[in-house]
Symmetry: C2
Subunit: 477 residues, 2 copies
């Protein structure tokens, strides 16, 4: 790195930052910057004065302090897997992109007290593995886990496939180390389960998408590993039956149901048609398929028969038509790959207008019906692809405009469909961003829907922590 | 109510408040005020201009707005069970005590989506019962549950006996309705499991002890009820064995271990000697007794044998000497009553200097040893009574001065012991208030131990929400 381009305002800044992070920790070279100034889906592209990659909390603090003194905006960046442009700088070229990727140490793992302390640049999968190595579970699991960084997960309060049982990222955080916009370092992470000593400051930074400070390290909860995880896929006739099937399973297994994922017929067919290596889970594609996991923790108890029996009774009760229980890991992975390949199959199939929404699970059938009607009114003939985390009421609901193929959706059509769907979400007391956050993609949408008082309080918090608006400008607030 | 005393500044205020809440909702009569201007342990006593008891969110908002316009401080009060004087007004007599006790409706229970929406004046036990009536569990459980109110539980982020499995109150809250210091009403509660739409404002009010606003209603998580709860008491030789016993049980039963409570020998003997109706659980009082609960959720599986077997293997491994597994509800309740009666037995036995602290469970043995040494140095011959929630590292550690009987501890002795114990807590990265909060009791202690930056941020948040300092003045910040 450190290949400065001459006559560049970024160049001068890079030189001064190099005195903090070393020459290897800063660059202004366009080819180095390029992957960091756009999101991975190519929806947002900006410019940056330079890219800085500090290797320690002290370096992050010094960099932030240095930039604050000069009034230079900062865009913190983890694995750059945001779906909302949350880590992409604007086009002004004023901002410095601060990558956490060199801060990737696992500081400690404590299997006895079920704690792990990690730097924010750790890849999520690495955190999962470190837990597994000591016989514990770190339950956060999502599509980007091989690339995304834990600091980004915390900054966006990431969701994923185990929220039904383990909650959002917020529920997994016991302590944070944060560099404030002033360059001061807040707290060290502590691993306490009970601690009521004044305002819980760390909560402010979870889900704030880097607009209030830069998370540099975290102490996270670990959990006992299940002795056994039963994976199954059930064929379901409609959404009402799907949510009832979840409650049926919970009657039998309590909160040992850890995953309950939905795949609509269109989504399943796209996977089977467009991606290699998949076998159809059922003789005929059902209206909805549910991928489910049930965990068992008891020594000397196998849950396989209990899950099989529960599904059989569900079938008798008309809640599902057919069900495949994985006999081994290979079969479980084959079922999981179907679910995991839905986004890629969808991408290959053409353009869609995407929504990341949630409502209470019990409202999902009426919510989806109302959404279909609202979309039909705005864009007659559009298809709807549904998949996602049915167990916690969170759906990826993608609208496929008729006959569009791979062409881009006109912005005004996109905006009208969004507004129509988000109006239905709001009428059902739902969320217009269940788990992907706001970033720059949904900032205007957020400010349209949140109450004036909420907006004023968010603004007041932002102004209190970052009065000059230097932290990740243009995102969230 | 509404019996005004003449020539009282409170009287005028009461008259104007009566126009909002009706004459039955406000009083200045000393006999009405008395139970509301002191804490139940009689450690704090203040005065108040009047007591107002609004019956709806609109009335709370109007009362707060009315008082804000006049610059009158407000002390929100739930069941008045604070152990830290968190709901007791100061001695100035300026403040109005705002009791939430008339806001005690359960607005809705949704067994399908595992939600309950309650007003903040609901007694905790009533919330538990409402969940049970629809076959669900609301897991928050603590000594004062028959008296304390859910709004107070949320405002203090209450802990209790099920934190090991279900987390603190914060982890149970999905949505809040809050009246801000301005009298404006924030949000309605929503019951979403995933919702990443900007800053999570409700987090600020959880654990803020009424210093940022008045919580008027909440939407809370419900859980599947266990099919079976195995209750047992184990006799343990030392603290190291006790924490190892917990991990042993978790190896066998995962996070189905929901309760793991410690009772030291002195505490057990006090219960057996001072309170009627108890049978000794063991032939001889062991150094430590552990009350534990293991839940089972599986249809068709009984955990009794598994727990019995796990305890037998623990005994072979030297982790416990003896164990009683309750055969029926009556025996389980008898074991629970021993644990529940510890505070009352202690109170009857005489004076003690109380601590509500936590460290990581793995550090408990060394922490307690270090504490014994530190206390002996300050107060030679003092005894230590230990009990509490070992499973989450939270202990009630009470120092009994030698030969004191029922006389009050001199304030300077109290302060020296506190400082000595809290120094040891801090050296072990622990918390000086695990679950009881700060109130007025620990405000100075909090400001002594929290870092300057933490204090500044807490102050900034307080000033941003309540610039005139009218909300529960003298507490926390």
């Amino acid at each position: 790195m450190n290949r400065h381009t001459p006559n560049d305002t970024g160049s001068e800044l890079a030189t001064s930052l190099a005195s903090i992070v070393g020459p290897a920790g800063v660059t202004t070279a366009p080819e180095d910057l390029e992957p960091h100034v756009q999101d991975w889906r190519g929806r947002f592209k900006g410019r940056a004065a330079c890219l800085v990659r500090p290797a320690s909390t002290a370096e992050v603090a010094a960099v932030i302090g240095h930039l604050a003194a000069r009034g230079v905006p900062v865009v913190p960046q983890g694995g750059n897997t945001s779906l909302c442009g949350g880590a992409t700088p604007d086009e002004s070229g004023q901002a410095v992109v601060l990558s956490l990727s060199r801060m990737n140490r696992i500081r400690s793992v404590d299997a006895f007290d079920n704690l792990i302390t990690v730097e924010s640049g750790c890849i999520l999968e690495r955190v999962q593995e470190a837990a597994q190595e000591v016989g514990r579970l770190f339950p956060l699991s999502l599509a980007a886990e091989g690339t995304c960084q834990i600091g980004g997960n915390i900054s966006t309060n990431a969701g994923g496939t185990a929220v039904l049982r383990y909650g959002m990222t917020r529920d997994l955080v016991l302590g944070l180390e944060v560099v404030l916009p002033s360059g001061e370092v807040l707290s060290g992470p502590r691993g306490l389960r009970k601690d009521n000593t004044g305002y819980d400051l760390k909560q402010l930074f979870i889900g704030a998408e880097g607009t209030l400070g830069v998370i540099t390290a975290a102490t996270l909860k670990l959990f006992p590993r299940p002795r056994e995880v039963i994976t199954a896929m059930a064929a379901v006739a409609d959404l009402a039956a799907a949510v009832k099937l979840l409650r049926h399973l919970q009657e039998d297994a309590g909160d040992n149901v850890i995953t309950f994922e939905l795949i609509s017929d269109v989504a399943l067919d796209l996977v089977l048609q467009l991606l290699p290596g998949h076998a159809p889970p059922f003789p005929r594609t059902p209206p909805f398929s549910v991928l489910l996991e049930v965990a068992s923790f008891w020594r000397g108890f196998s849950a396989a028969d209990a899950v099989q029996d529960s599904l059989a009774r569900a079938s008798e009760a008309g809640l599902c038509d057919d069900a495949v229980v994985a006999r081994d890991d290979a079969q479980a992975q084959a079922l999981w790959r179907i679910r995991e390949d839905v986004p890629e199959a969808e991408r290959r199939s053409g353009t869609a207008i995407k929504h990341d929404v949630s409502v209470r699970p019990g409202l999902i059938p009426t919510f989806v019906d109302a959404t279909r009607r609202a979309v039909e009114a705005v864009l007659p003939g559009a298809g709807i692809i549904l998949f996602g985390h049915l167990g916690d009421g969170s759906l990826h609901l993608n609208v496929v405009p008729p006959g569009l193929g791979k062409a881009r959706v006109a912005p005004e059509i996109h905006a009208r469909v969004w507004r129509a769907v988000h109006d239905v979400v709001t009428a059902h007391e739902g969320s217009i961003s269940a788990e992907h956050g706001i970033g720059q993609l949904k900032r205007d949408e957020l400010w349209h829907y949140r109450a004036a008082l909420d907006r004023r309080l968010m603004r007041a918090i932002k102004d209190s922590f970052d009065p000059r608006g230097l932290m990740n400008p243009g995102k969230v607030v």
